[in-house]
């Protein structure tokens, strides 16, 4: 019984020195395939990568240790700095845009509306569509249809393709990324809004709160935990942006929309193996910092 108890409540901090009963060997058979494959497929490559980031390897052949040279070079490499800046800026803008739109849609899709299920079904479709393929479709629309519409309507701003403009190409990437990732965010907000008991709203409307007040004073605070989830999940995904950018701009025009992931991969293809492993390691450290931040934030909020 006590064994069950500790399983159910988890070892959360509780030291469990008791019951050193032998583990049935078959459990190792259950556990080891995953752990061993995982070690070979992720841990070992990770360690190899960090190791080579301190060398001058080009991926094959001989190499030498060069200490932190790669890291020092990376910090002053405009190509890498721009890609970090671009990626973080893009992730920030996208996460805000996606969450605002998804939240508003979720409010609409949980309100008293017609065709509720049909509408929800439509809004979820982008989630099942391949990022690179929809990026190709949008690239066509941005290059052909939008300029055509722009010249037909006499709007000079739209007459040139936005993804051919170094200053605006990122907008195209934000649009496509948002198009694809709103559904997942939306579903979480719908679940959040549905978990709010209906009588809260009834009480509020008896007290004379109008719809807008209910939205700002009740719905928004009560789904705050879900906002945190969505912001964290989204931000992490957008930092790794690759597929959609490849399909839409391929990092261009020039290198104006080259993400961190693209920079790492491109470097490899041009023989900068060790150098880009340093970039990857830096990126990894940043990811860890974000993960720690996210844990401290979610620890503080256990209301979900």
């Amino acid at each position: 019984m006590s064994a069950t108890r500790s399983i159910v409540t988890g070892g959360g901090g509780a030291k469990t020195p008791r019951s050193r009963k032998k583990v049935e060997p078959i459990y190792y058979l259950f556990l080891f395939p995953a752990v061993i494959l995982f070690t070979l497929a992720i841990t070992v490559p990770g360690i190899i990568g960090i190791f080579f980031s301190f060398t001058d390897s080009i991926g094959i052949g001989e190499w030498e240790f060069i200490g932190f040279t790669n890291y020092i070079a990376a910090f002053s490499d405009p190509a890498i700095l721009t890609s970090f800046l671009f990626t973080f800026g893009f992730a920030l803008v996208t996460v805000i845009l996606v969450n605002v739109i998804a939240f508003l849609l979720a409010v609409g899709l949980t309100a008293k509306i017609r065709f509720k299920m049909g509408l929800r079904a439509i809004f979820v479709i982008p989630m099942v569509v391949s990022g690179i393929i929809i990026a190709y479709v949008f690239a066509f629309l941005f290059q052909n249809s939008l300029p055509a519409a722009g010249s037909a309507l006499g709007i000079p701003f739209l007459e040139t393709s936005i993804i051919a403009n170094p200053d605006l190409a990122w907008v195209g990437i934000v649009i496509v990324t948002a198009w694809q990732s709103i559904p997942g965010t939306l579903l979480i907000y719908i679940a959040g809004i549905l978990s709010i008991p209906g009588d809260v709203y009834e009480a509020a409307s008896i007290d004379g709160a109008n719809k807008r007040q209910q939205l700002l004073r009740i719905t928004l605070p009560l789904v705050a935990g879900y906002v945190v989830i969505n912001v964290i999940l989204g931000f992490k995904n957008y930092l790794n942006a690759y597929d959609i950018i490849i399909g839409l701009t391929n990092g261009g025009p020039g290198t104006s929309t080259r993400s961190i992931a693209m920079t790492i991969i491109r470097g490899f293809q041009t023989g900068d193996y060790a150098y880009q492993m340093a970039t990857a390691t830096l990126f990894f450290i940043i990811t860890i910092i974000i993960a720690v931040l996210q844990l401290s934030v979610t620890r503080g909020r256990s209301n979900i």
């Binding site: 008293k112 509408l119 190709y136 597929d243």
Partner: protein, 309 residues
């Protein structure tokens, strides 16, 4: 997918609250009274329909372009209906991209990833939960979970090298890597679910003489079915749609998956829009069709997965 309290064991109340709310996502919802005094607001409905148009527009363009003739596809009007209706694009795309081979590769990678993820993750989760008292198993849990913080780009370069060296620069290599990147999240979901299965249930099976292996397959694995569905849906969406990993790992172009094959239209044939769009449509269609049949599951699964994760 990772906003977990890293310490396992949320209270039963939280557990049911989450499941309850995900359940209602496709049935209308307990929170907001659906059927009430009035039959529903038309203004909100109309606004939402307008938003839905932006979702459907790219898909409409894809479909209508795919059925156009070559000349019509370059006339500059993407939104017109096909006139005449033509399947030339499909015929040519089928041959150009070697669709049957691409489909087979995508299918193998996806099926392999889904099956491997469900089996390996449920195996490991079961072992971990039943032996939580033992350090090895407890630490394995945190070890596997740690990978949620390692995105593919970070380890991509060594992985490209290693898969190349060990003859895994093919769909099998992608299956292994994709499964490993799905593992942490899936283990998290399975362990959360396994904690809610009472030990007594298992003990009664044991009294009847079932071994651990038999107990797992006859009792635990069937009970895990809803979670396996969630895990499977995530693995499916990832493996079917991913471009980055197969494009980097699979070295033989003929073994590429469908999303990677589409880059053919970025260079050559770039003016045969009907062919390109027919090809895009054929690559997208299987996932969309699967979704239309399994909408409920997908919506519930994704919600549940994201919230538990």
């Amino acid at each position: 997918m990772s906003t977990i309290p890293l310490t396992p064991g949320r209270t039963a109340k939280e557990e049911t609250a989450t499941t309850g709310s995900t359940r209602s996502i496709t049935t209308g919802g307990a929170g907001a009274p659906t059927k009430g005094r009035k039959s529903g607001s038309w203004s909100t409905t109309i606004i939402l329909f307008l938003c839905a148009v932006t979702v459907l527009l790219p898909l409409y363009v894809t479909i209508s372009m795919a059925f156009k003739t070559g000349p019509q596809s370059v006339d500059g009007n993407a939104f017109s209906l096909p006139a005449p209706f033509s399947i030339d694009g499909f015929v040519e795309a089928w041959q150009l991209t070697r669709f049957p081979v691409g489909f087979a590769m995508s299918f193998i990678v996806t099926a392999g990833t889904v099956v491997a993820t469900i089996i390996l993750a449920s195996f490991a989760s079961y072992a971990i939960i039943r032996n939580w008292d033992h350090r090895l198993f407890r630490y394995s849990f945190f070890y596997l979970l740690g990978a949620m913080f390692i995105p593919f780009p970070v380890v991509a370069l060594p992985q490209i090298q290693l898969t190349g060296r060990f003859g895994l620069d093919n769909p099998l290599g992608v299956i292994i890597l994709a499964t490993m990147f799905q593992l942490s999240f899936s283990v998290l979901l399975f362990t959360a679910f396994l904690r809610s299965i009472p030990m007594e249930l298992e003990e009664s099976a044991r009294i009847d003489g079932a071994s651990t292996w038999q107990t797992f397959w006859r009792l635990i694995f069937p009970l895990l079915a809803p979670m396996s569905a969630t895990v499977g849906i995530f693995a499916f969406l990832y493996a079917w749609n991913d471009f980055m990993m197969p494009s980097l790992i699979i070295s033989d172009a003929d073994m590429q998956t469908l999303p990677v094959r589409q880059n053919l239209f970025q260079s050559q044939f770039s003016s045969n829009y009907n062919v390109a769009f027919a090809s895009y449509l054929m690559a997208m269609a299987p996932a969309i069709i699967a979704y239309l049949f399994a909408q409920r599951w997908v919506m519930e699964g994704v919600t549940q997965g994201a919230l538990k994760g």
